[in-house]
Symmetry: none
Subunit: 208 residues, 4 copies
């Protein structure tokens, strides 16, 4: 009946909105969804309570926006640069580093998204979409290695990607959220070692 007008377009407006998103992101990183107060977010963003609703229809809407931003960043971050020709180990290593950083940088928020996905179909969709992208990316990489004769062709690419990708993802969580102490280099080396051995691609190996 009553149509809400679209959000403002002014410079000020955009700045306020951005501030709210940033504040929301921080808040959702620190506390579970239900423990985040709209008021907190507003205080952080330096705006009044009412202003929040100029930009977001609800607390959930803000979370959705934050979640979508994070997912977007992870999509973007997961794009491996052009493969280093002739060095498959380095390729896997680069992918693992990227992968680890992507998950480590958004670990808390991704957990919140998983939480939200439990009771909300649309968040679940978002999450599964992201997962699928990562899985496909991993599986494609593996398939390529198999085709090049660099990895065990007997391995099912998807399942392998799910498992080894999960290892990286999970380690990011353990590392960042649960305080498993480890420097990044060690982590990446180790993950890459385990990964390459698992798929029978080992350091220094080259195509025949």
């Amino acid at each position: 009946m009553i149509v809400k007008s679209e959000p403002p377009i002014t410079g000020r407006g955009r700045r306020t909105r951005t501030a709210l998103v940033r504040a929301g992101r921080e808040a959702f990183e620190e506390h579970p969804y239900d423990n985040v107060r709209v008021d907190d977010v507003c205080t952080r963003a330096g705006v009044s309570h009412g202003t929040f609703y100029t930009y977001f229809g609800s607390k959930e809407a803000l979370f959705r926006e934050v979640a979508e931003a994070v997912v977007g960043e992870m999509f973007a971050a997961s794009v491996v640069g052009p493969a280093v020709p002739g060095d498959p180990y380095a390729r896997v290593e680069a992918a693992n580093r990227l992968y680890l950083r992507a998950w480590a940088g958004n670990s808390r928020l991704m957990r919140m998204l998983e939480q939200a996905a439990m009771d909300d179909e649309s968040f679940r969709g978002l999450l599964l979409e992201l997962r699928e992208m990562f899985v496909r990316r991993g599986a494609d990489g593996l398939r390529r290695l198999q085709e090049e004769g660099l990895a065990d062709p007997a391995l099912d690419p998807r399942l392998t990607a799910v498992m080894l990708g999960g290892m990286v993802e999970h380690f990011a969580h353990v590392w960042l959220d649960l305080g498993e102490s480890c420097d990044e280099k060690t982590a990446v080396d180790m993950l890459t070692t385990l990964w390459t051995r698992a798929i029978r691609l080992e350091e220094g190996q080259v195509p025949r």
Copy 2:
């Protein structure tokens, strides 16, 4: 460690209490902590609203009890039977199967516990205790293999256990909660294959 509220030691009382714990467990498996209503739990347990507080001082107390029960079960479940002498692959496989089942059976609840751990030190302690146990179990197993000359002695046992253990744990989640379709045998085979290759212990290999 587990402090119970005083009153009921009767048969009826114990039955009611058990019903509440079971109901709580179901509820917490289905919905995030904040979406679980005490009312809900009571209805499921077939007791009146007020009765809940005869047995539990708060909703959190119930969750704590459920969480502790689950953690206890996981502790128990993770005890690998006596090692099959002379077949290290089978030993790893058995451990993986056990591990996978333990996590798969309690996947949702463990997620809730992780969630709770975000904002509550004591839940965090519980979680870390459990993790530590699993990590130590895995690291010990690996160390034994290394000592027997069955696994790459260069690998850091703890970090390896964290990573490969995380792979299993994470797969349980992806498999059960996110609907990655796969039968158990395939999963265990695959996990074991990846694991043994990663540590350079391969099927059929025997001590020299």
Copy 3:
């Protein structure tokens, strides 16, 4: 998902509920819907804010209940006793008195209902149902008089009932809500006089 349990059945519960309905009725008689605070109603009923929601899902639900009660009473009130045989004027007079009292006693609330009906289909339905009943009652009465040769047979019974009935209804409003001073006897006499003349049934007239 979560099924709300039915309202309580205890004596105390029923009493509380009744108190809330009574309080709500008073409140809605005094102020327009939006100016009635749930808190006001609770204070009047002597219960805490939260208790309200034990019995009613929303403020609207309370209003609905009050409205339905009022409509129910008006239905009941409009039942004219057995016609006084042989005195049609007295019959009309009795009907008018009843009619006037019914509307006068619920004047404010009926206005609120009309207000609510503007933006809500279900309230509109309730209102129209009630109107229809009154109209039909009036039309039937007139038709009977026509059949007995006591009233002008040329008059359309429904339209006549709508108009003359409306006169009574409207007078109740003017009288009670807008302070047109007049005692009941005078009002009933006058309304009956106008009504009977309009349909050509006049005092003292009897069937041939």
Copy 4:
């Protein structure tokens, strides 16, 4: 009586103001006072939110202006042209037609005004003023007919006018707002018939 806010006397200003009043009138016709949003009105008028307060100090101020305009129109509309000499039935009929049209054209708004009058003395004053005018007009007309020997001299002019006038007013509401289907001619004929019979002035009757 009508206090306007200071600023705009420009052409543009006046146009904006007019647009707001028109928009407000539409809005108040469609929804109860509290359901009308200032935003709504602005959107309808095609002006920005802030502009509203250039012209009106508050939402109530706008409603007051709209209400006063309507009341003004009804005052104007109720002025019966010079009586047709020698045809009292036609005179009553003309009055009824005018009366019916006046109420029918402003039915919703008059209801809003009644609503507002419930909680606000000044609106109540406005409403009573208008009513009084109609009542007086009706009573005067009747008195004239009585003096001319055309209507029952025993009838109290004021009370009769209140009641029969109310019949017309109420019918306008039932007709337009509650969907009682009827064409204008039928309505006017019927109302006039009932009215003239009630006061004992019947079609065709002429002064002796």
